[in-house]
Amino acid sequence: MSAASAPAPAEGAAPGGPPTRIELRNVSRWYGNVVAVNAVTCEIGPGITGLLGPNGAGKSTVLHLVAGLLHPSGGAVLIDGIRPAGDPRVYRKIGLVPEREAVQPFLTGREFVFMNARLQDLAGAEHATARAISLVDLEDAQDRAIGTYSKGMRQRIKIAGALVHEPAILLLDEPFNGMDPRQRLQMMELLRTLAAGGAVVLISTHILEELNDLATNVLVMVEGRLAASGHYREIRKLMTDRPHTFTVRSADDRRLAASLLALPSVFSVELSEAGVSIRTSDRGAFTRALPKVARDAATTLYEVLPTDESLESVFAYLVQR
């Protein structure tokens, strides 16, 4: 990514005017009897916001509501006070990178981006196309049919298509899928530059680490609800500091259980056929103390298994909190 091709200030964010804002006011969306999004209220301003949650949490539905591709069943979605659903003018401000890989396979990369520029009615469509392709570092492959692209290249050409009109709002649904680490770093740098230029960047992901050093704000969605929101570090801490459960198998489970009860970080111990089930309030302190406790109890550890590390259980904790 060359410094010379850094993006210009976002389109739609009037210089000196109020910054672009996305508002969700008590937004719900049902599909028949299934609630995909449940009474979500939040405000998203310039900068990078991460929409975090497990699969099926309603992240894509929120992005599609913001993009006006879905009407809310209840509440209101507003972009600078305008409801996006059914108002094509709002798309001058929005760039959307959908999760689905689908891109017209018979077009070359350049044709695809140029098509997006023309549909935005850009005066300098050729120039904007070249600039967007350079931003995603695909100049070498721009004249090849998209059907021959790798997954990561397709993802990047989709991003170029969404960026070509320098939108004030960029919505990205799982944008790092299929990218290698180098491409991820480049993309993160690009998103940071866009955000620094005043754009609202909303990224959905189910991997918290993808938002590390990237998102200033994180919205956590679980089962259609907004379970938590805050700075990346706050959310990270919330997830790390939650109670953890381990199952430990040793040469003498009963003796080990008795010794573990004395640890201040352990608040419950349960013996079962599978071993000792331990609930701890401090994961780090417990894992550091465990080998020492086992040694002092003169028992051998066979297996230490964290039993609630699945993404679902982490998010379930945030909901129950």
Binding site: H64, G68, L69, H71, R89, L96, F106, R118, L119
Partner: protein, 250 residues
Amino acid sequence: MIGAVDRTVMWLTFRQLFVRRRLVAAVLFSLVPLVITLIFRAGHERTSQETLRFALMLYREIAVGTLLPLAAVVFGTAAFGGEFEEGTIVYLLVKPVARWRVVASKYVVAALSTTLVMAPAVALPWLVLGGGAVPPTVPVAYAAGIGAGALLYCALFILMGISSKRALVLGLLYIVALEFVMSRQVAGVRSLSIREFVLTIVGKLGEGQPGLVAGTVTMDTVWTMGALILAGSLGLAIHRLRTFELAERL
């Protein structure tokens, strides 16, 4: 952008409709009447009357009765159907282009493509048979009728493409049931048959041409029903796309 259509949407639709495989199929398809004509010519010497009778049968049964609805169903349903199936429709929907313009642009391209594929099907047999036996009024009347038929069929099939995942199957069922079977057997159904409308237009334009079999409906019916099919199908298609939500078919 020119008036009701968006040139970029039109360009994209042309590219979509004429992907390599479909282009080859379209060329072969448009050559079917020529092949039949060459086979006819390869036999013994034909009189002018026989040649005229053959040309009229070829245009009526093969071009209007079979190839026109088939070309229209392929192009009409593929103009949108592919976009929904692949999920690429999203790139058109998140653009500042009114959805009615998207429908209008795709419709114009589908109708033009159908006419384009049908043009050699009308012109080439006439060139082979010669203007002496088949007066130019005949291919001109059929070309105009086919153009009008393409407009009507494509409006109907565009609506099917937006409304159903199985638009092609639905379209083929419609052709077989209504156009091939019912309109030939049940007199009342003829006022719903686009094939009959085309033949009526041909009859009107080729009036006085001996041997030309016109459609059984009146020009008033053609105007009324044609307007209803056109306005109804395109109106519904625009309404469907305006109210379309991503989760419906993706």
